[in-house]
């Protein structure tokens, strides 16, 4: 009997054959950066998750938990990947108290299904993340991927109020609770956000929910140069307008976005002027507030000499907002070879953005910028092929991006890169000063290092 067959037999003994998959074709669907697991396990309860983890500890196997597998490429390739833990069978809502605006939901619940349930009570969870139609709630949280609503609702750390999870000793643990304000014990659940499954297997998450706004609006301002963009964004920040989202697109990013818009909808009512910078703002609130924000944005855009300066109709706004939410997804495939950076830096400074575009130019690569709210910039480098010269150009460009981010007291990481580039560049950037602190956390959660080894910052 081969080692894989032996493993399968023993897992069958724990969960039954119906929760185990070993077919080669299906195993390949769970591959991460080309690393294929030996078996897929689909537990249906937190207790079953704990049993699998305890089995893995005893047998010295590694585990990577996943939901819809839409963002498995985040991070570095795993150094070892024995068991894929498919969490989609844990998909119930354990508790929803609309009167208290609190929710407790299983890890594998798809976000869009959750939205339907919450929407029936006029509520929602502000996790507007890419691959929205398929993403699970725990997958979205563990990936740490940005929500386009973060400007107004914050990140998951602002509305995650508790969690249940299986730690690296196979114990079912919890942190936080189901109340909106709570400082009882260490906030261990916050560590799970963006941890790529390296600390524990999330089985349930507790959230504060929010009331659906009465109305939405969207506005598009176009500028012929970066200085106009900067003046407009500065004016918006000083105005204190409570925008849900504010995104700036470089001309190349406009061209990419326009292509996606055209693919998915025949008409987009605003002129797709690809030679300009776009600033897209979305906003929401009461029927009285939305027109006020629209008026103010038009005035500020006019003062910054925007043209066009347009309030979007509802359909165009929803469409553009949806396309931008999915930017992570389509930017990865915008050319035969793409490197997508996420840069945390000071607000939209023209010099910083020009420096980034300069990196693309010097590397003879196409570069495009999407400046998101809250100091996040997505920067994509596109090559027409995956040959050695393109890889070398991307590698050099990556080093420049990491160093530019550090010079601005920021950080950069690669959200997507070709596998060959990942073998040359650590997607997390240079070694961090707080790596030792992170290693202490990892060791305390997962002393046997069985969860997703090698994927995270500093090789964690």
């Amino acid at each position: 009997m081969t080692a894989a067959a032996n493993l399968a037999t023993r897992l069958e003994g724990i969960l039954g054959a119906h929760r185990l998959i070993t077919a080669e074709a299906e195993l390949r669907e769970y591959a991460i950066d080309g690393v294929v697991p030996c078996a897929i396990v689909r537990p249906a309860s937190a207790q079953e998750v704990a049993e699998v983890v305890r089995f893995a500890i005893t047998e010295k196997h590694t585990i990577i938990a996943s939901g819809s597998r839409s963002k498995l490429e985040l991070g570095m390739p795993p150094t070892r990947y024995d068991l894929a833990l498919d969490m989609t069978a844990l998909h119930d809502i354990a508790h929803f108290d609309p009167g208290d605006l609190t929710l407790s939901v299983d890890a594998g619940m798809p976000l869009c299904q959750l939205a339907t349930v919450l929407g029936e009570k006029g509520q929602f969870l502000p996790l507007a993340v890419p691959c929205y139609e398929t993403s699970t709630v725990a997958g979205a949280l563990a990936s740490g991927i940005d929500s386009t609503l973060r400007r107004i609702y914050g990140t998951a750390r602002d509305f995650l109020i508790g969690a249940e999870f299986v730690d690296g000793k196979g114990a079912l643990c919890k942190s936080g609770g189901r109340v909106v304000k709570n400082v009882t014990g260490y906030d261990l659940h916050k560590l799970l956000i963006g941890s790529l499954g390296t600390l524990a297997v999330i089985t349930r998450l507790n959230f504060r929910t929010f009331t659906l706004p009465q109305a939405h609006g969207g506005h598009l301002a176009c500028f012929s140069n970066l200085e106009g963009v900067s003046a407009y964004r500065d004016a918006i920040e000083k105005s204190g307008l409570p925008l849900a989202n504010l995104e700036t697109l470089s001309p190349e990013m406009v061209a990419l976005t326009a292509a996606v818009l055209r693919e998915t909808q025949e008409e987009f009512t605003t002129d797709l002027d690809a030679g300009k910078w776009w600033v897209y703002a979305s906003y929401e609130g009461s029927e009285a507030v939305v027109p006020r924000i629209a008026r103010d944005l038009q005035k500020l855009a006019h003062e910054a000499a925007a043209a066009p300066n347009a309030i979007l109709d509802a359909a165009s706004d929803a469409h553009l907002g949806g396309v931008l939410r999915e930017a992570f997804d389509w930017l990865r495939w915008a050319s035969p070879s793409a490197a997508l950076f996420r840069i945390v830096s000071p607000q939209c400074q023209p010099a910083n953005l020009a420096d980034l575009l300069g990196v693309a130019h010097e590397s003879s690569l196409r570069g495009a910028l999407l400046v998101r709210a809250a100091a996040i910039t997505y920067f994509v480098l596109l090559a027409e092929n995956e040959d050695e010269s393109a890889l070398r150009a991307m590698e050099n460009a990556a080093m420049r991006v990491f160093s530019l981010a550090a010079a601005g007291q920021g950080h950069a990481a690669l959200l997507h890169a070709p596998n060959k580039l990942k073998s040359r560049v650590n997607v997390w950037g240079p070694k961090r000063a707080d790596l030792g602190m992170m290693q202490r956390v990892k060791h305390s959660f997962d002393p046997q290092y069985i969860f997703a080894p090698g994927r995270f910052v500093g090789g964690i």
Binding site: D97, G99, D100, L101, T102, G122, G154, R157, D158, D167, K169, C173, G177, R178, V179, V180, K181, N182, V183, T184, G185, Y186, D187, L188, K190, L191, I193, G194, S195, T211, L212, G240, L241, P242, G285, S286, V289, R292, I293, S345, P346, A374, A375, Q409, G410, A413, W428, G429, R432, A433, D434, M437, M438, R440, V441, K442, S444, F445, F456, V457
Partner: protein
């Protein structure tokens, strides 16, 4: 305590930055809680390097350390339960950097909470967490306890406004976490350390987010003849999805005490008031104020006043924030509890608190953050009467147990400290404690920092360095 340690600390910091006489030390055996524990030495560092050297000296002599801001905490978090050295951050009180463009401030831990707002309000910015003690509590203490305040209902608690920290670990190593602009890749270490009650490291520098002041604000005072009506109003405001910036409740008994002390304009003949603030764009504020008023009247508010100017608004908030001081005039001591419940359970929780008070012979006041279910029952008692003290403790434990039964938590903003560590098993299992202990030991393996806090000693989670203190709470759940 080795005599050489005092000599070395005097040499390191100068004698004006070291206290060792008993008459000085007794001033540091209290905080805002009902607990007492005296340090053996008190030191006042001026720099991060001072803190690191103090910690190294303490480690060499195997002496425990506790950090302290201004000692306003309400759970015994800043008391030296294990004796040893108390590091008071009062002289590390400089604002190091203000970056208006990126809305950030970098401050030392001894900066008083309100001083951050004072330093940036000229630019229309402020620091959102606003504990009642914000005129005296320090940002370092806020970080340790993850402090809240009335306006955290809309804007979040301290952790939501911290992007980076500088820390000194128990071996004296200086480390930096997070990043100025927030959201750096990696584990959310700031999220772990904020609220860890000084049990993992000493915080020596904090980078905070600054918020922009709202365009418009309205403060409503809703007056009720029945507590039940006021609490049902809060539950319905929440259920309707109205999110005020603040929603505070004060009962009639407490209102009279406040009026005797402050004359804030509260009614003396009501059962309860709600102090509700809405802010944002003018149009939003108008709509929210109308909606709030509608809910109040639906639940039989006898009057809903709107503060007509900043002076009247400030006076109402002055009354609210000085309530604990007002009650302090009525009895030798008071015990401010801190529990959390689901907001939909507010009416039954207040009824139960009243019954528990009657059972133990106390009139229990209620002044609290109703909008986020964060209760602050206040028990007035005389600590010189041992039976009263025991009853106050028993009543408080019963109230907190009831909060947990309703699906709530032990503490919303005061922390566990040495007040509630024995109640922790009401919420957490052995597996939960095992993981929390491993995280604790990853940073503070010898329990040299703030021993005897958070973890229940009765569960074998305590440390041998905790010594028995006179007046300590009994260790029964």
């Amino acid at each position: 305590m080795p005599a050489s340690l005092l000599r070395e600390l005097n040499s390191l910091l100068g004698t004006s930055n070291v206290l060792h006489n008993i008459e000085d030390l007794v001033l540091y055996e209290y905080d805002g809680s009902v607990e007492k524990a005296r340090p053996d030495l008190v030191v006042f560092p001026h720099t991060t390097e001072d803190v690191s050297r103090i910690v190294k000296l303490a480690a060499k002599c195997d002496v425990p350390i506790v950090g302290r801001g201004s000692g306003t905490g309400l759970s015994g978090g800043a008391l030296a339960r294990g004796g040893g050295i108390m590091i008071v951050f009062a002289r590390m009180n400089r604002i190091l950097e203000i970056d208006l463009e990126n809305a950030r401030a970098v401050v030392q831990p001894g900066v008083v909470n309100l001083d951050i707002t004072r330093a940036v309000e000229h630019a229309g910015l402020y620091f959102a967490p606003d504990p009642s003690s914000q005129k005296s509590c320090t940002i370092g203490g806020n970080v340790a306890e993850n402090a809240g305040g009335p306006h955290t209902l809309a804007y979040g608690v301290t952790v939501n406004h911290v992007t980076a920290l500088e820390l000194v670990l128990p071996d004296g190593e200086i480390v930096r976490l997070g990043s100025k602009h927030g959201d750096a890749p990696g584990y959310d270490l700031c999220g772990l350390f904020v609220g860890s009650e000084g049990t993992l490291a000493l915080v020596t520098e904090i980078t905070v987010k600054l918020s922009r002041k709202a365009e418009a604000v309205k403060t409503l005072l809703a007056i009720f003849d029945a507590v039940d009506d006021a609490s049902r109003t809060v539950a319905e405001i929440t259920a309707r999805g109205i999110t005020p910036a603040a929603c505070e409740m004060v009962d009639g008994w407490t209102l009279c005490a406040i009026e005797d002390y402050i004359q804030a304009g509260f009614p003396r003949d009501s059962a309860a008031i709600l102090l509700i603030e809405v802010e944002g764009l003018r149009e939003a504020v108008e709509a929210q104020a109308t909606a709030v008023e509608d809910v109040c009247r639906t639940h039989h508010a006898r009057e809903v006043r709107i503060a007509k100017d900043d002076r009247e608004r400030d006076l109402l908030w002055k009354g609210r924030k000085n309530a604990f001081g007002a009650l302090g005039r009525l009895a030798p001591s008071n015990y401010v509890l801190d529990g959390v419940i689901p907001r939909s359970k507010l009416p039954q929780a207040l009824q139960q608190i009243s019954q528990i008070g009657k059972k133990y012979g106390f009139s229990i006041g209620n002044i609290f953050h109703a909008g986020d279910g964060n209760l602050h029952p206040i028990v007035l008692y005389d600590p010189r009467d041992p039976q009263q003290f025991e009853n106050a403790i028993a009543a408080s434990r019963e109230i907190i147990r009831y909060c947990v039964e309703l699906g709530g938590a032990l503490t919303g903003e005061h922390g566990v400290g040495m007040e509630k560590n024995e109640l922790m098993p009401l919420l957490f299992s052995d597996a939960d404690f095992d993981l929390m202990r491993r995280v604790h030991d990853a940073f503070n393996p010898d329990s040299s920092l703030n021993p005897g806090k958070i973890f229940p000693l009765s569960k074998g989670c305590g440390e041998i360095r905790v010594r028995k203190q006179a007046g300590a709470l009994p260790a029964q759940v």
